[in-house]
């Protein structure tokens, strides 16, 4: 049973370097497993999805990038704010030619750059369009949409398009669009997941991010703890190792038993490495407790050597399924 049964739009954020795009792509694969259709979107012009699935750069067009376990397909779309504005002008105002002319003049770039919040409304608006398509409208129908969103530090502001655009447009179509986006984002059809690793800054940003989302009336979803490493030191020796008072005689005896030359220098070097490791394990333990206090569901992904390859993505997808996220 999935932890997010009603959710249609999965927003995935995380501090840079935590593997946010990898997790978003894996989540899309997990959601597609067993024959469903999922759209994976990105909004930061990074072409992160194309790199991950090893395809040519994605155009502003839905392209199939992967097939999930047991059938099911993942499509991908790199949303470009300029093209989204052109699409918007064409669709709602039949302004295709005027749009093309404005683009040539640099006006579209200008508007999406300087108009407060317009860019984010366009980006989230396109995601909303894909997530709420109905049978009669144009375009492919998706069972779920995953958004590889901007990093945790900016996520609440990015999603809170309503407030952002309020200063610009008190009425009119853009305002209306912002209101509809907000309604979807605040509903139980949307979950905002945060990816982190067990280090101080990413965990702090996750805590701050959850608080900001909550105060904006948005729903934090799961916390995905990525790149976890198993503690190698047995529990009973952890405190000693961390304090740098490991039983050197025991290590020496062990080395001799294994037939390894146990010079004092080797034993001391190994003990020093154990100390570093144990201190890190203790820090990670603190970070885990901090995350647990958030009272959001937590999913754990180990450090995988093939995380950025397709096999790794399938592996992570399976783990997310096994832990009930999907």
């Amino acid at each position: 049973m999935s932890d997010f049964p009603a959710v249609k739009l999965h927003v995935v954020s995380g501090k840079g370097g935590t593997g946010k795009t990898t997790v978003a792509a894996s989540l899309a694969l997990a959601l597609a497993a067993g024959g469903r259709q999922v759209l994976l979107t990105e909004v930061e012009a990074r072409q992160g999805i194309a790199q991950l699935f090893d395809t040519p750069p994605l155009p502003y067009e839905e392209r199939r990038v992967a097939v999930a376990r047991g059938g099911g397909e993942v499509y991908a779309l790199a949303i470009d704010p300029e093209l989204a504005l052109l699409e918007y002008l064409e669709k709602f105002y039949n302004l295709r030619r005027a749009g093309a002319m404005l683009r040539k003049l640099g006006a579209i770039d200008f508007a999406t750059t300087i108009a407060p919040g317009l860019r984010d409304v366009l980006l989230t608006g396109k995601v909303m369009e894909a997530a709420t398509r109905e049978r009669r409208g144009g375009g492919r129908l998706y069972d779920a949409v995953v958004l590889d969103a901007p990093p945790t530090g900016r996520i609440a502001k990015f999603l809170n398009v309503n407030t952002e655009v309020a200063a610009l447009a008190r009425m009119g179509p853009v305002r209306h669009q912002a209101d509809s986006v907000m309604a979807l984002l605040r509903s139980n059809k949307t979950a905002i997941h945060l990816v982190t690793v067990l280090e101080e800054m990413p965990v702090q940003e996750t805590v701050d991010g959850v608080a900001e989302l909550r105060s904006s009336g948005l729903r934090p979803g799961g916390v995905i703890v990525n790149m976890m490493r198993d503690p190698l030191i047995p529990d009973h020796a952890l405190a000693d190792a961390a304090a740098g008072v490991l039983d050197l005689a025991e290590v020496e005896t062990g080395l001799k038993a294994a037939g390894v030359e146990a010079t004092a220098a080797t034993v001391a070097a190994l003990a020093a490495e154990a100390t570093d490791h144990a201190q890190r394990v203790q820090l990670e333990q603190q970070e885990r407790e901090t995350l647990a206090a958030l009272e959001q569901p937590i999913y754990k992904i180990p450090l995988l050597t093939d995380a950025s390859e397709l096999s790794g993505l399938h592996d992570i997808a399976k783990r997310l399924q096994d832990q009930g996220m999907v």
């Binding site: 840079g16 105002y93 749009g99 407060p116 853009v174």
Partner: protein, 386 residues
């Protein structure tokens, strides 16, 4: 790696006037900048460190509790050598506001501050942060209060953003759309502006329809009240860019031994060279090293396995596995550093060992400073690579 040219950090700290720490996001730029600043101050120089987005506890350790855009003295620095350390966090909006205040009278400035387009430009335009970091650096330099200014650069995906973004903002403000939108007022209905004028009309019509009349009014007010300043932005960006080329300025590229970070560092090194900007060298953070490089990965793992089979030596087996993991990381790091070195043999390098935890006090910064100044020999991990 025995032929790697070492980076003389203390030499740099005693002569440089500006040190710019750049590199991809998440490589420890802020910590490196802070550690260098602390060390220089304790060696007797009057130093200011300009940080952009420090981790909370690191900021606290330097007394940076309020974001007031002015350098404040850092407590706890050993000033016996006659030096001093001031630190500040960049407030980009405030820096932008200050520029406006310099160019406009108070009434007009207030009008600008209240305009939603200005709010957007001063808080979320990609490039504003970089521009304002440069601007602030220029101001600090002009103040003449400090012997040395150490700058941390904004957390961007690409290290090159720091060099390019300021001009991007300058170009934008001095750009075609702004000129088009201000042209009718300036030049009346001259013929060559006709096509532009048509463009403006379409643009304003479209804006009117999708955003409403108020937005259009805000935009024209913004443009009108900003008009006298636009050209100045590009000029300012050019000026600070020149400052970066002056003797006394040194760049330090910060990286970690990971593929993406090293690729960014390589782009940056090449760019500095192309622009004839002075690169002091590279700081390679988070390098793994092992004190027992002669005990190989294979041997350690085999020994751990044989202990498991015999039973009873759980701790030693764990320690051996740990060693194998650590040595593998050290070998990989050394290989990556070596690859970088052979592609860029002239770049001086200093390596800083991976720390067990984050640094958040002055002692931690001093320890890093010590390593930067030569605590960890560049050849140590190379021995591990064996």
């Amino acid at each position: 790696m025995s032929d790697v040219l070492p980076l003389d950090v203390d030499g740099l700290l005693s002569t440089a006037e500006i040190i710019v720490c750049c590199g991809a996001g998440g490589v420890g730029k802020t910590t490196t900048a802070a550690a260098l600043a602390v060390r220089a101050a304790e060696q007797g120089r009057t130093v200011c460190v300009l940080t952009i987005d420090p981790a909370r506890r690191l900021a606290q350790s330097m007394g940076l509790t309020e974001l007031d855009n002015t350098p404040r003295a850092v407590d706890g620095i050993d000033e016996t050598a006659g030096g001093r350390l001031d630190a500040m966090m960049l407030d980009m909006k405030r820096t932008f506001d200050d520029i406006v205040l310099q160019h406009a009278d108070e009434a007009r400035a207030r009008q600008i501050f209240a305009n939603p387009f200005y709010l957007s430009l001063s808080s979320s335009f990609a490039g504003t942060q970089e521009y304002m970091a440069m601007e602030k650096l220029g101001q600090l330099k002009t103040a003449g209060t400090w012997d040395l200014i150490v700058v941390d650069t904004p957390p961007s995906r690409s290290a090159l953003d720091f060099l390019d973004a300021p001009q991007r903002l300058g170009r934008f403000l001095d750009g075609r759309m702004i000129r088009i939108l201000t042209a009718p007022a300036r030049a009346g209905g001259r013929a060559y502006l006709k096509v532009f004028t048509i463009g403006v009309k379409v643009f304003t019509d479209v804006l009117n329809r999708i955003l409403g009349a108020q937005a259009l009014k805000d935009l024209s007010l913004f443009i009108a009240s900003f008009e006298t300043m636009f050209g100045g932005f590009r000029e300012r960006a050019d000026q600070t860019y020149k400052l970066l080329k002056e003797p006394g300025t040194s760049f330090l590229v910060v990286a970690v031994p990971e593929r993406d970070a090293l690729r960014e560092a390589a782009y940056f090194v090449e760019r500095l060279e192309a622009d004839q900007m002075p690169l002091a060298g590279m700081v390679l953070n988070r390098v793994h090293a092992s004190g027992a490089p002669s005990l190989s990965v294979e041997r350690s793992l085999a020994a751990a396995e044989s202990l498991d089979e015999a039973g009873g030596e759980e701790l030693t087996a764990a320690v051996l596995r740990l060693h194998a993991e650590r040595l593998a990381s050290a070998t990989r790091d050394a290989r990556r550093a070596e690859q970088f070195h052979s592609a860029h043999p002239k770049v001086r390098m200093v390596q800083v060992a991976a720390q067990a935890g984050d640094v958040h006090d002055l002692d931690g910064l001093r320890a890093i400073g010590g390593e930067l100044a030569g605590g960890l020999a560049a050849s140590a991990p190379a021995a591990a690579a064996g």
